[in-house]
Symmetry: C2
Subunit: 481 residues, 2 copies
């Protein structure tokens, strides 16, 4: 009996070792489904009960997770999980920005089909419902005719605005269709918002690191930037922000509270609440960029900052470019105090947003197709992020730090020994591998030892090889510490 | 024999009187086809030869014109042709602009289907090839799939840029696809151009009167405006402009040289040449808005200002919003010295232009459908403008002055006795008739006695009644002179 129990325990351990081994060798990666109980029981010649017990053990160790009606999956916290980077400390001075040349190089690589696309934060179009959308397009283009070619003046198509309001309501947030303005993507939404609240020379506070397109926009508009310390898990550091508000004439905060690009940080509700009290209490507008808000890995959609606002001073910007069809150029603004002014800015700067894409997206939302698509998309992004994180942990040297986001599809990676990501960029480009050097995410010279990795593409052999190769290149970087 | 000749001469006169009578009573309007020789010969019981002689006489008198393979048409210069307004004299000071409220009213009326649409400079969608475009749309949406939903980054779709370059070449102008940037309509094109050449507080010279959306844009951007005297036939007065350039720090000229809105003026080539020498010689950029350039009533397309430039300092803006499909939001910029900078402005402000509309328009251009459509459209606009001009001459009091444009689809009307167009606007709106009061076309208080009439809609009973009614209302306006 004892012997039997001992043998069973040995067998049970060997199943555990087998699974851990598959993970260590990359045969099983985060997000992958573990072999079924039946399959592994056959393969290892042990009972299904034993495999089940081993899986349960791995589950309690955080290596596997059970998903209802589906089986066991390798979690993101599997072996080789690297540490996350420390909170940023950009230093407290407002700055002007100059970066045009490096921007250009990174952008030109984004469209080169021969380069492994780890650079721009761009999802693969394979993940998007191209067929379903073009069916909707075809059917609408015929039905709309004259309406389809006519202007659809700001604030934009009413039914699309209602559908957006309905989705916010489903997520527990009160937004009315009369607060929404349709724009040509989130980029235009943010550009209009900045124009509405600030003028040349004004100081705008942002997270540090900050998405480089924001830097480029602020640079063009002649705005000065104040980068605030940011925690890669909880977002902008409120004490540092408060201190800045007390000592400087800050005109607005521009923030990505949900799954920040590049850090992936998610600001907890109580921090959003405090943020709103701090800024709106001083009459300073908050522009929140929520383009990643729908891409939560867990079940719950995070709140908007505006959800905690009672003063009407929050401007929310978003789009369908990361979730549905970047080429449609459909974004939007939710605004209260600034609504009328923003409608006029929209009219003045671009007259209107393209008509048919507004109708197509409205139909796609109303049919429920968008919500069904999002379920699949979130799962895909989650798996891709987890696999990438795992693979970086495996391929990069010890001391590499990687963020652990709960949504979105980018990773922010700190190289060990202050490794120079610009040197790495030039080496990687020779081998047709792109990523975004950390230098681009700040007006300071910080983040030179960081890189941002795009996980918007389904995992494949090329990406795996690119990351392995990138790891080898990092190993070769000189120690700059 | 003499008697017979006398009788024939009498009959011949009576045919002429008959036709003049039809025109005077509005049974025949400018652009209408006169009855066929056969028909009138039957109706008046005279010989075909006599009718033909009478028509030839009316042709030499400028009342009718013969069109090959088609017959005789009533010309714009028929009876009741009013005088054109005198050259404008806005006074020589740069000004700031404040007009938001009146803009809003005019805009909200533009979308009210119950109002006779003589307000916004907006063509009827009935004139646009909605069916043909949606066929192209449907076929493309299916074929493109992933490409259709993906970004199409600046400078925009290459084949569309090539097609645009080809059309310029056909019109005798050298423009390369590498000089073209696709934008979200001409509004964005102009907004980006202004951002590239000027900043808050700078002075921009414009024609006076000037299209009110330009005023709104300059107001929003904090730019100061310098309105230059303008002749309703030949455009901006070069001597006045030169004097301003000598005495003020003007950052750019923003001009509509071809079929200006509202005056319809067309700058002759030698004036374009001198304009370019004057401005580009001083290193001052010219932004030319050519959205009406394809809408010439005669056979020849007018030249761009850039055609005469050798310095690379002209930025040309245009779109398909007045000729094809405003709802597609497809415009473009042609630039030389400012090209790189404008590409970056486009990226910074709106990332990209909607993808599928770019493909649809490219196909539509390449197939030759666009050129065929333009032939019909120009004829329609011409007839509408001529009918409107005739009807205003008939319905409005003596002393009314009306422009006589050779392209586009708006008329600029000066009321007699300094009649107050704002009073007229409030009276007309009660009766569901819209137009744009002259006050909106200047930062000065000039043009209060002007109105702009949109001729973008096919002539119909409602429009005819609206103009007759408007004429009655003008008769009732108090003399303010």
């Amino acid at each position: 009996m004892l012997k039997q129990a001992g043998k069973e325990a040995f067998v049970y351990e060997s199943v555990i070792d087998h699974v851990r081994g598959m993970i260590a060798h990359g045969a099983l990666m985060p997000g992958d489904k573990a072999p079924s109980l039946r399959k592994l029981s056959k393969q290892l010649k042990v009972s299904i009960t034993t495999v089940n017990q081993a899986y349960r053990h791995l589950e309690s160790a955080g290596v596997l997770e059970a998903r209802p009606q589906s089986g066991f999956y390798v979690t993101a916290l599997a072996e080789n999980a690297p540490e996350t980077p420390a909170r940023s400390r950009p230093g407290g001075k407002p700055r002007e920005i100059r970066f045009a040349q490096l921007f250009k190089e990174v952008f030109s690589l984004a469209n080169d089909p021969d380069v492994v696309p780890l650079g721009a934060a761009k999802p693969s179009m394979e993940l998007m419902p191209a067929k379903a959308l073009s069916r909707t397009y075809r059917s609408l283009a015929g039905r709309l005719e004259q309406r389809g070619i006519d202007y659809c003046f700001p604030p934009g198509y009413g039914r699309l605005r209602s559908e957006l309001a309905r989705r916010y309501a489903q997520a527990g947030m009160e937004v009315s269709a009369e607060q929404i303005i349709i724009t040509s993507g989130a980029t235009e939404a943010i550009a209009l918002s900045l124009q509405a609240v600030a003028k040349r020379g004004d100081i705008i506070a942002v997270e540090s690191p900050v998405y480089f397109s924001v830097l480029r926009l602020l640079e063009r508009m002649g705005l000065r930037i104040l980068e605030i310390d940011t925690d890669p898990e909880t977002g902008i550091c409120l004490d540092v922000l408060e201190n800045a508000l007390d000592t400087m004439d800050i005109k607005a905060l521009l923030t990505v509270p949900n799954y920040n690009n590049p850090t992936g940080s998610l600001m907890p509700d109580e921090r959003k609440q405090r943020l709103v009290e701090m800024l709106c209490g001083r009459g300073i507008p908050v522009i929140e960029d929520d383009i990643y808000g729908d891409l939560h890995f867990g079940d719950e959609r995070p709140s908007l900052v505006r959800h905690f606002d009672t003063t009407g001073n929050v401007i929310t910007c978003s789009s369908f470019s990361k979730t549905l069809a970047p080429g449609y150029r459909i974004g939007w603004i939710v605004a209260s105090n600034h609504y009328e002014d923003l409608v006029e800015w929209k009219q003045a700067m671009s007259s209107a947003t393209a008509t048919i894409p507004q109708y197509v997206v409205a139909d796609f939302l109303r049919s429920g197709d968008y919500d069904r698509h999002l379920v699949r998309l979130r799962k895909a992004y989650r798996e891709q992020v987890e696999k990438m994180r795992f693979m970086i942990g495996k391929a990069f040297p010890d001391g590499t730090r990687v963020t652990n986001p709960e949504g979105g599809f980018v990773l922010w990676v700190q190289l060990p020994d202050r490794g120079d990501s610009l040197k790495l960029f030039n080496m990687a480009i020779q081998e047709k591998i792109s990523f975004t050097p950390g230098l681009l995410f700040s007006s300071t010279r910080k983040y030179r030892d960081f890189i941002r990795i795009n996980c918007g593409f389904p995992w494949n052999h090329d990406i795996e090889q690119a990351i392995l190769r990138l790891g080898e290149l990092v190993h070769r970087l000189p120690d700059e510490s």
